[in-house]
Amino acid sequence: MPPPFSWIVAVVRFLYDFIVGDDWTVAAAVGIGLILTAVLNVNHILAWWLIPVIVVLMLGVSLRRASNRLR
């Protein structure tokens, strides 16, 4: 791959590893949660609780998955 493209791929890979890491489902859940929060908020429905709930639940799911991988 010529240098400009290989650099772009390297930067994208770095950003993905840096931000998303080894469990993409957490990032996906946060993204979906933010979209749902925006929808609730636009419709004047109390929405601040959704992301904290997703954070707590997804941490448990991700930890269980990581623990099972280590066994």
Partner: protein, 241 residues
């Protein structure tokens, strides 16, 4: 016209609230990843802020902070959750061993050649986001009261005072084992990421900034719960109902 001291004190206190968040992130990242790249990141952030303030001046008060908060908050939230999860797993596996010394299984600081871009990026982001908020507070409050000079002194003074306190305590922070520190910083990044992302969406938090300690308590309790669960799992015991 608002009095000079009223402007000075108000901008100092308002900026201190934002500066505490900035210094918390910078000191946390610096103690975890090493100071050189973190301080260069913070200095880069201040450099960007100086350029932004010089270019925009009074117009800074109309920079849309909402989309900025949404993007940076979401990134901090996703990234913070990584450290949150890794911190829980490491503390559950190793406990608090290593207080007062270095964890024998890992180096506390970045030891690779050149710049630690992770530390640089986190520190840079924290300074730019919180610094923009300080700048907006100073410019809007100072311009509104026709006391821009006093407002600038209040804002810069808050950053110097809070930054000095943070640097004075960093040796204490360094004594905490890296795994625990990673958990603490993960909780902090997740907390501020949650708060900023939702503020960026226009969601009203109950109690506004006062909800930040509430989020910290929730995520702190979550960390303790999952650490105990992971320990029980590692010991092959059934977790308490």
């Amino acid at each position: 016209m608002t009095g000079l001291w009223a402007v000075l004190i108000t901008t100092f206190l308002a900026s201190a609230v934002e500066a505490i968040e900035m210094v918390t992130i910078v000191v946390g990242v610096g103690a975890t990843r090493g100071w050189r790249s973190t301080l260069i990141g913070a200095a880069s952030g201040f450099g960007v802020l100086a350029v932004v303030v010089a270019i925009l001046g009074a117009a800074l008060s109309v920079v849309p902070i909402g989309p900025l908060r949404l993007v940076i908050g979401a990134l901090l939230l996703v990234f913070g959750l990584q450290w949150f999860r890794k911190g829980i797993m490491r503390v559950a596996a190793r406990g608090l061993a290593g207080i007062g010394g270095q964890d024998p299984h890992e180096t506390a600081e970045w030891t690779g050649p050149g710049m630690d871009w992770t530390a640089w990026f986190l520190s840079f982001k924290g300074v730019v986001l919180e610094g923009l908020e300080v700048a907006i507070i100073v410019v809007s409050f100072g311009a509104g009261a026709n006391q821009l000079g006093a407002a600038v002194i209040g804002g810069v003074g808050a950053i110097i005072v809070v930054g000095g306190i943070g640097l004075a305590l960093h040796q204490t922070v360094r004594r905490i084992p890296r795994s625990l520190l990673q958990l603490i910083v993960g909780v902090l990044l997740t907390t501020f990421g949650t708060f900023w992302a939702l503020e960026g969406l226009g969601v009203a938090w109950p109690g506004a900034d006062a909800s930040i300690p509430g989020l910290l308590v929730l995520y702190g309790a979550t960390a303790l719960f999952y650490i105990s669960l992971e320990r029980n799992r590692a010991l092959g015991l059934r977790p308490a109902a």
